[in-house]
């Protein structure tokens, strides 16, 4: 445990909702978001248009991974179903905000009169997140009651249920085909603001009373229960918050891509975001951010090799599956040699303050 965390404890006990503590974690969250902002601004300023799409996709992954961290990092239960919420968020706004003319082409037989509904993007987003919240509350109620392993399996079952509904409820979701015509209202600056907000929320939750209690109950269920901590309720809170952020990622994805299909929100996305979180380190929000930055860049390199490149005049064949192998190897090696990931137990601001303290000495 870090010295600063130990030093901070006694004062927390005196003023549980202390103002100074809130300000400290708000500041910490902003420091953690700083690299993201810098990268975002650099892309805005210098990168060619082709990279804009990649960057937006990477930011969506960032929001998903931070959302995933809220549940996995604090409760230490693996969640393999978060893409279900991303999908519900994305399809929610797709169904609600697509222009009527487009809907006549794509989903003319939508039930509940949804073929004749066209909301403005903001209202659609709020409604979609409401649907995500209801789904999360129901699934969370079940998952928070189960033991760790069973909870993971049920989170997977949730993913399969939601995916199967997308595929088979063709009147509403167009099934296997792409759902197109969603208004493209999100650009990079908006995405940046959302990313920073999400990072700060995750940090505030982690440092909050609930976050601390949940982390304590993950480390030692008995000791936490002896202190009167209701771990089930806390898991439910973390699950719903995590789901809402993943849902937000889905909403943003739909609004920048304009076209979505069910397979985008399935195992491929789970693999990638999970590997990012594990590589960075799931105990901290900094870890989530680090993992996304490192793997987004790394995967882009691997993808360019995967599609067959020419090295020193030799044309390499297409190597489908190479990025998958790399993701898996990252997960396995991380778990074996550095289970804490790159960033370990300390947030960026805590690492920095340690560094400066050592310099001063």
């Amino acid at each position: 445990m870090s010295e600063s965390a130990v030093a901070a404890r006694p004062s927390d006990a005196v003023t549980p909702a202390g103002n100074g503590k809130f300000r400290r974690s708000l500041f910490g969250g902003l420091v953690t978001a700083l690299p993201v902002v810098l990268i975002g601004l650099a892309i805005l300023g210098f990168a060619p248009a082709y990279y804009m799409h990649l960057a937006l996709a990477a930011f969506v992954n960032l929001i998903i991974v931070v959302g995933l961290q809220i549940f996995m990092g604090n409760s230490n239960i693996a969640n393999l179903g978060h893409s279900a919420f991303v999908g519900v968020g994305a399809y929610g706004v797709a169904v609600l905000s697509t222009p009527l003319a487009m809907k006549k082409l794509s989903i003319p037989n939508a039930p509940f009169g949804l073929a004749f509904v066209e909301l403005n993007p903001l209202a659609a987003a709020v409604l979609a997140l409401l649907v995500v919240a209801v789904l999360a509350a129901i699934s969370g109620k079940i998952i928070s009651r189960l033991s760790g392993v069973a909870a993971t399996i049920v989170s997977l079952a949730l993913l399969i249920i939601v995916h199967s509904v997308f595929l088979n409820w063709t009147d509403l979701f167009k099934g296997n085909q792409a759902f197109f015509g969603i208004p493209k209202v999100i650009n990079l600056p908006a995405m940046l603001v959302a990313s920073v907000a999400v990072i700060v929320i995750a940090r505030l939750f982690k440092d909050s009373r609930w976050g601390l209690q949940l982390r304590a109950s993950a480390q030692s269920p008995q000791a936490a229960a002896a202190f009167g901590i209701d771990a089930k309720r806390l898991r439910l809170v973390a699950w719903v918050l995590s789901a809402l952020i993943c849902g937000l990622a889905g909403v943003l994805f739909a609004y920048f891509a304009g076209t979505i299909s069910p397979k985008l929100f399935y195992f491929q996305q789970i693999f990638i975001t999970l590997a990012m979180l594990i590589l960075g380190g799931m105990a901290t929000v900094t870890g989530a951010v680090t993992g996304v930055i490192v793997l987004s860049i790394g995967l882009e390199f691997i993808r360019s090799i995967e599609s067959g490149v020419t090295i020193a005049g030799v044309q390499l064949p297409q190597l489908l599956g190479l990025s998958g192998v790399a993701l898996g190897v990252v997960i396995v090696l991380c778990m074996a040699f550095r289970p804490g990931g790159i960033s370990g137990r300390l947030e960026l601001d805590e690492q920095l303050s340690r560094l400066f303290r050592r310099d001063a000495r």
Binding site: N76, I77, A78, L80, I142, R145, L146, S147, G148, V149, A150, T152, I153, V154, L156, A157, L158, I160, I161, S164, V165, L167, N168, S220, P221, Q222, A225, F271, L274, A275, I278, L319, L320, G321, L322, S323, G324, V325, L327, G328, V329, V330, I331, V332, M335, A336, F337, P339
Partner: protein, 299 residues
């Protein structure tokens, strides 16, 4: 009546297959607390070795069956040695994520080294015939699935209850530290458990190959997800629970197939999972699981 019997046989055959795979998961979990997501890829390795052997000119189905089981057992032991031993004493979540990683690696290796597309394997098609008993026509594969699964489970029970190593395995699932104090080698117990788990997966692989007649990289993944659900349904870590959960899953699936109208057939998987999750609301510890007291499995 004929139809009802046919569906009963269907349910039993599906259930037997799920039970086999779920038992493989439960054997490993009960001993070292590993949630082996890579179990599906053990099935995959087994199926792909039959595919490769057939491509190299193997024609005897019996040899193919033996090869499938041996390859699966070998793959399971290798996975343990390479990937799971470093995380043996780590928390459950670490092991689970490692296994998930192994599963991704192996699936993508199939894609990379062989092909992302399904490859045809016809060597075991002979197992899938129609048998006629008087007025009844039954699929030989389903009968074999049921009989072989039953015999395998019987053999497993005999092994676990009668042999020294089986006793050690059962003891290890209760208290590994004490088993080691009795002079039993941890590595041997765990390797045996993985070999058993692999052999069960290999038998399942034979049936899958005989039914589908092709291999694809995600061959075992979906099946193992269902087997996991069967394990959770029966009570995670309980062997009897895994077998019972698998059977129940088979009955739920076939029941839904019969009950659902044709146009809603696609919702079968979704509804299956909904039913199971609903069952878990009433029994969070699973049907045959024991209510684990807080901290029981903690070290």
């Amino acid at each position: 009546m004929d139809y009802a019997l046919q569906q009963l046989l269907n349910a039993l055959a599906f259930g037997a297959e799920y039970s086999l795979v779920a038992l493989g998961l439960a054997v490993v979990f009960s001993i070292m607390g590993l949630v082996n997501f890579a179990h599906g890829e053990i099935i995959g390795v087994s199926a792909y070795s039959v595919f490769l052997a057939a491509a190299l000119g193997l024609t005897s189905p019996i040899v193919a069956v033996l090869l499938a089981v041996a390859a699966a057992a070998l793959a399971a032991v290798t996975f343990e040695r390479v990937a799971f031993r470093p995380v043996r004493y780590a928390p459950t979540t670490t092991g689970l994520l490692t296994a998930f990683g192994v599963s991704i690696v192996v699936q993508n290796l199939f894609m990379l080294l062989i092909s992302p597309k399904p490859q045809s394997v016809s060597i075991l098609n002979g197992l899938n015939q129609m048998w006629f008993f008087g007025p009844f026509a039954v699929s030989s594969l389903q009968v074999m699935e049921l009989v072989v699964s039953g015999l395998t489970i019987l053999a497993l029970v005999l092994f676990l209850s009668r042999s020294t190593l089986g006793l050690a395995i059962r003891a290890a699932s209760r208290d590994f530290a004490t088993v080691r104090l009795m002079g039993i080698r941890a590595n041997r117990v765990i390797a045996t458990a993985f070999a058993i788990s692999g052999a069960l997966a290999g038998i399942a692989a034979v049936f899958i190959l005989a039914r589908r007649g092709s291999v694809s990289p995600d061959l075992g993944f979906g099946l193992v997800l269902k087997a996991f659900v069967a394990c959770v349904l029966g009570g995670f870590g309980s062997l009897a629970g895994a077998a019972a959960g698998g059977m129940l899953l088979g009955f739920i699936e076939v029941g839904l197939l019969v009950a659902l109208p044709q146009e809603y057939g696609g919702f079968k998987d979704a509804l299956t999972y909904v039913i199971i999750v609903a069952l878990l609301v009433y029994r969070p510890e699973g049907l045959l699981g024991q209510r684990v007291e807080l901290g029981d499995k903690e070290i």
